[in-house]
Amino acid sequence: MARFIVRRLLYAIVTLWVIITLTFVLMHSIPGQPFNNVDKMTPTILAHLNYTYGLDKPTYQQYLIYLNNILHGNLGTSFRYEDRTVNSIIGTGFPVSATLGFEALIFSVIIGLALGVYAALKHNTWADYTAITIAVLGVSVPNIVLGPLLSYYVGVKLGWLPTGEWGGFEYTILPSITLGMTSLAFMARLMRTSMLEVLGMDYIKTAKAKGLSNREIVWRHLFRNSLLPIVTILGPLVVNIITGSIVVEETFAIPGLGSSFVESITDKDYTVIMGTTIFYSALYILSLLLVDICYGFVDPRIRLAGGRD
């Protein structure tokens, strides 16, 4: 197991390096510059700015300097806000996004799985159709519609919860629901399909032939085996929820990392673009690794293939 993890971490570093290089090249090949209101500054000022941020050096040197900085854990200073480092932007924005994402994830996994299990057990009854209708609605209504609707009806009309901003737990409820809804629906449908597939397996018949009750069969034999496809999509889902929160953060005026990411691109804020991209990529790779490890716990067949347990 340890060897497996070490090997995966090494791969992760190589992957990250490729991502850094690609982002760097792409960013520098877009026309324009971080300091683009040139007509309002004198050439001297521009030259001075470029000198300060190291933009006057040849691109390959900038690249090497950047790599060296990253190795020392320094993601640079924002071009836009001179008093903020990229580390601090991530440091303040990410905990907010992560809290929001985590709550959305818990919400979507628990409700989504429950809905999927319920639908599968009541296969082809009205309960099944209701659950599936909810799931289809959840997949087809985008965040950008659901967010304002919830904010308006629950926040403004009913006045039960705050319509936006970031404070205590009550501020997190509506954005979490908005953010988690798509995943919830996806989860419910996947779980239902998976349960129905496992229900048709021979070993469910074996379990039945042992004289186990339906309840015992569902929890001991059906549930765990149905979870396998869920675990597979969990990794990308986690990252999706955490990074895909830009719309939700805008809708509910939440000071998360998503908005910084989008702004940095329109601002050509090189260091912030690079910093957030690398951060998100690292997160993605890490969660995929975690999922692979989890997979081994759920499915003993994978455990052996991945190395010794």
Partner: protein
């Protein structure tokens, strides 16, 4: 010998979009204590449906049990038991072995726990006592290093070993009846023989009866005391294994026997297949279901169903050829084909 299982006039249909498929059309047979009864027939003859109905494992709907009774161990009709009562019978009094050992074990549960589950449920054992008993059972079915093996998962076992585990599960609670639904079909030939020997030996030891579903007459010859031959949802011939192999009466049985290959024949003998396909059970024929494929079919065969005619106390067949006015036919039967 007392009757352990008595199936009477069993009729099972499946509701499909195309109509009602009559999979089992009035099957009657009985099984004595300690006996091995083989149910023989080709795919779609209704043998598996019959077996699963005895276990109440077929899903209703789409299946409908239209008629019949299944009496087990001189008690009430299995078909009238509640689900809860049926749970107490399954695994504890009737065990079942399925065809494909590669898929009939749960891939995410250790083998020991899968064996122990039934014991813990039916014999009120503690978890650890159940696991200890599971290790004993693994030894009983001939698995070496049983203690270690009990903690392993099915993918760490070969096909034959898995079938041994499935047998251990089925026999865990000393059931009075073991239903084996083609237990050797998915296995290599050499492993098949081992598994059959094991089954016979264990059931002798435990005093269990076996209901063996198979389409392999070799298996029948090896293990069965009595045989019923099924075709298109009906029993066409019944008898002791001896009677069926040496004095078969039904043309379908003749056909089955002719199509078994033999080791000791040369190329002057041809294997003779049964031409044609079984009838569509959405709309079963009015007369004998085999008439369309039967080389000896007469006019009456296509219009009226033959009654069952007894040959001896244990041997009977449903065929118009056995009628006193029917012509005598010489089927020239030889096991494994016929001379050219």
């Amino acid at each position: 010998m007392a009757n352990l299982l008595e199936v009477k006039d069993l009729e099972v249909s499946f509701k499909t979009h195309g109509g009602e498929v009559q999979a089992v059309r009035g099957v009657t047979f009985s099984l004595n204590k300690g006996e091995v009864l083989a149910v023989v027939g080709e795919s779609g003859s209704g043998k598996s449906v019959t077996a699963q109905t005895i276990m109440r494992l077929i899903a209703c709907p789409p299946a409908v049990i239209k008629n019949g009774s299944i009496r087990f161990d001189d008690r009430t009709d299995i078909l009238s038991l509640t689900d809860k009562q049926m749970e107490a019978v399954r695994g504890s009094e009737i065990g079942m072995i399925f065809q494909d050992p590669m898929t009939s074990l749960n891939p995410t549960m250790t083998v020991g726990r899968q064996i122990a589950e039934g014991l813990i449920k039916h014999q009120a054992l503690s978890k650890s006592a159940g696991l200890d008993k599971a290790v004993e059972l693994l030894q009983l079915v001939g698995i070496a290093n049983a203690k270690e093996r009990a903690n392993q998962y099915p993918h760490q076992f070969s096909g034959g070993m898995r079938q041994r585990v499935v047998i251990a599960i089925a026999l865990a609670c000393n059931p009075k009846l073991l239903i084996a639904d083609e237990p050797t079909t998915a296995l290599d030939v050499t492993v098949q023989a081992q598994i059959l020997d094991l089954l016979k030996e264990l059931c002798d030891k435990l005093g269990s009866s076996i209901l063996m579903i198979t389409h392999d007459l070799g298996v029948v010859a090896n293990i069965a005391d009595k045989v019923i031959v099924m075709y298109a949802g009906k029993v066409v011939e019944r008898g002791t294994a001896r009677e069926l192999f040496y004095d078969p009466k039904h043309p379908y049985t003749w056909g089955l026997l002719r199509s078994i290959p033999r080791l000791d024949t040369d190329d002057t003998m041809d294997l003779i297949p049964i031409e044609g396909t079984p009838p569509n059970l959405l709309n079963p024929p009015q007369g004998c279901a085999f008439a369309a494929r039967c080389p000896y079919a007469m006019d009456i065969c296509t219009t009226r169903q033959p009654e069952e005619t007894a040959v001896s106390e244990s041997h009977a067949a449903s065929c118009w050829l056995m009628h006193s006015q029917a012509p005598k036919v010489d089927h020239g039967l030889m096991l494994g084909g016929a001379n050219r």
